[in-house]
């Protein structure tokens, strides 16, 4: 790998691959799909170079189940795909949640439903934040808005996965995946100490056998297990992360995540140049959703407008967060359109409290 702290001009996909290697990823399971294929292309070389394992699977389903197997052995392991492929992985992710396995799953979201498009989209928000498979479970979800964040959050995803023994999703989109930006490749590849893996499988040598399962048939057993999982999901609350830009004196808070958050920020800057009192709140962790800071802003009487590159999904969480004080307007850029900052100026101005009356 290159010397640390170098500036690399890379795509978001490549930043994620670099982040995975830096995070000490040991196994990666791939399947080609636009717009994320640079991740497997890069890792097929760079991961193997550092002694890691790369397998291109026969399907996204198989790749996700290979991830289940590798994480069952306590390895730092990852799979990546895009929306239709991520849909195929949902059952395995539910099993990983039920068996408490620390898999990292990267979704470079594309237009849907169905074959949709290879355009950017945020249409997988519900699936990712509500647990896309069967049963009551959640996956920690991190949403980068820049290539640097894609690098940093991939590293954090591995740490959080093992901290909580839970699958973690890095949710990007086609913009993030394909755009190039300079990043600081700041992290030396982490050396794993193998601690805290007393649950992982390695062969029952001079110890009792270990079992990783999600089947609980005896009376009340699954209820007990689910209670434990729910406590874990509550404990994740402290991992909330977000960015606030000029919210202090803002009359209107624009709430947008990922690439939309980036585009909205430019719009907010432009409006600030015209002395419009508007600010940006950009959730970085989508689960756990940063409710408390939004509630605090709402308590100050601010107005809210949620901007999304889907038909409106995160707006539910925003409304839940601010329900004691306010409601949120919604402006959707439907997948298939690529919003630029100027497209957002009108909708934001219209939502300004003074104008909205």
């Amino acid at each position: 790998m290159k010397k640390n702290d170098t500036n690399l001009l890379v795509k978001g996909n490549e930043a994620i691959a670099l982040g995975a290697v830096a995070a000490g990823c040991e196994c990666y399971f791939a399947y080609p799909i636009t717009p994320q294929s640079e991740i497997p292309e890069l890792l097929s070389e760079s991961l193997v170079e550092v002694g890691g394992t790369f397998v291109q699977a026969e399907s996204e389903i198989a790749a996700a189940n290979m991830l289940l197997g590798a994480t069952a052995c306590g390895k730092r392991a990852m799979t990546s795909s895009s929306s239709p492929g991520i849909a195929l992985k949902q059952e395995a992710i539910s099993y990983m949640a039920g068996s408490q396995l620390p898999g990292v799953i990267v979704n470079i979201c594309r237009g849907g439903p169905g074959l949709g498009s290879i355009d950017p989209s945020q249409g997988d928000y519900y699936q990712t934040t509500r647990g896309g498979g069967h049963g009551d479970y959640r996956t920690l979800t991190l949403a980068p808005a820049s290539c640097q964040e894609a690098y940093d959050l991939t590293i954090r995803a591995f740490d959080l996965a093992f901290l909580y023994r839970n699958p973690v999703v890095v949710l990007g989109d086609a913009i993030l995946g394909q755009m190039k930006e300079p990043i600081k490749n700041w992290k030396e590849r982490v050396v794993l100490d193998g601690k805290g893996l007393d649950w992982s499988l390695s062969g029952a040598r001079n110890r009792e056998p270990r079992l990783l399962k999600s089947l609980y048939l005896s009376d009340g057993a699954l209820a007990g297990h689910n209670r434990k999982l729910q406590e874990k999901y509550q404990a994740m609350r402290k991992e909330c992360d977000w960015e606030e830009y000029r919210t202090q004196d803002a009359e209107l808070i624009v709430v947008a995540f990922g690439s939309m958050g980036r585009i909205a920020k430019s719009a907010v800057r432009k409006l600030r140049e015209k002395n419009e009192k508007v600010g940006l709140f950009r959730p970085i962790s989508l689960y756990p959703f940063p409710e408390a800071p939004l509630d605090r802003l709402a308590a100050q009487g601010k107005g809210f407008l949620t901007l999304e590159n889907n038909a409106g999904q995160m707006v539910d969480d925003v409304r839940l967060a601010i329900r004691r004080h306010a409601d949120s307007g919604l402006h959707c850029v439907l997948p298939g359109h690529l919003a630029n900052p100027d497209d957002l100026l009108g909708p934001i101005e219209e939502a300004m409290p003074a104008k909205a009356g």
Binding site: G69, G203, P209, R210
Partner: protein, 257 residues
Amino acid sequence: MTQAIQTEEKQVFRLPDVLADTATHFCPGCHHGIVHRLLADVLDQLGVVQDTICVASVGCSVFIYNYLLLDTVESPHGRAAAVATGVKRANPENVVFTYQGDGDLAAIGLSEIMYAANRGENMTVVFVNNTVYGMTGGQLAPTTMVGQKTTTSQQGRSFETDGAPLKMTEIIAGLPGVYFSARVAVNNVKNIKKAGKILKKGFANQVQHKGFSFVEFLAACPTNWRMTPVEANERVGGEMIDYFPLGIFKDNDNDGL
């Protein structure tokens, strides 16, 4: 143990420690119990019990971890071969095997088994073929015989609409990446002893890093065949072995001679 009075006696049949000392949930006459014991014997004889990771599948054998005291991970239905690939790639020094039924391996898991086999994953697959989905109550399976009545082929499997049973051992043997593929049965003592030897080869191959080994067990399912255990056992020896011939179909040690 009661002491014989006149002459000394010797216990001649021993169960290995890796086999849990417990009753099983299997139906009377279900061959899973025999396959579990053979598996326990082979791991014990090869001295690899403490290095083995079991990849369980979904079906009547889902509780294998209650009976074989091994590190075990439960895989989703049909995905054991992919989970085992992940396990083996992560821990190449462990002995890794899947234990799957015909629904799990030859229906929903067909893609996974074909690819694990053709990648030549250094693992052992124990495939128990009883021609029905047992756990869910006896539905049509990929290996259901033509004419065999099941709860979802109540007039008998029809070749025209349901096709014919899949011969997995031959299919797997045809894949270039495969090292060893054989079919055995446990319906009589001769077959049981032969099955033990072939299963041992299937694991020894892995220990010697030779690649992918596949062992299919023909098995009885009295409950869902609506037969007595003895009748079901006879059916294995008759109709099933006629259609699913026993033997080694691929062995790169001596290319299946």
